[in-house]
Amino acid sequence: MAQDTFQFDTERFKEANKDYIGRIEREGLKAIYDATLDTLFVEIGGPKEALTEHMVDNVMVRINPDSLQIVGFEILDFLDDFLPENRLVREALRDWNLSRTSDSEQTLMESQYAPIKDVVESAIGHLSQRTAGAT
């Protein structure tokens, strides 16, 4: 393609997300399940404009194109495919009564949801490696 697409700088991306734990503490971490689409959204703070980058399988990462901060995740086919295959996340969300029949929301600030916060760290590492060749 003749048109250059957006490429982000690896070091700037890592720097922007160095304090993701502090940002989660300040802005909060929330999960929203859309039953119609069987999609889970995890947001740091409220909804924000962002690029969406595919991470692995059903998981996509939301990134602010200006600050390069990770602002959330989107996981497609969450109950049908992702959760059965991810025991740690399944265990972390065991008290949240998710079903395909109704939407629901859950704040994820308690310690039992730590595996969800770990996904942020995984995304930083994963995307940093993917973009290293682009800088």
Binding site: M1, F41, N58, L76
Partner: protein
Amino acid sequence: MSFPRECRDYKGLRVIVTQAVAIHVSQRHVEMMIHLEKICDVLKTPDLVYFRKRTDSYIFYKLGVLSGSISRNYMVVIAKYDENGEGLVRTTFSTGKPANGDMLVHMTGGA
């Protein structure tokens, strides 16, 4: 733009954009709200189409249709098809490059 809306993909197959998807975009992909009307265009004349076996989904990519801070990105539409070949849009967003690991099934000459 009203929903549900019927589009045709690059093969001529019917693909529906539901009200649920429009609401999902307005709430969770706020940057795509002004680009909802372009979903049909992406489906009909994509630059790239990939198939994701894991989720049985088709991922359509098109450059040059977005504006503003995301203008240099692909507009992406993910659709699933039923056994009759009728599609449903799952989501739409913008991304810098196609996802890894998917199978390329269509590419235009300029891509």
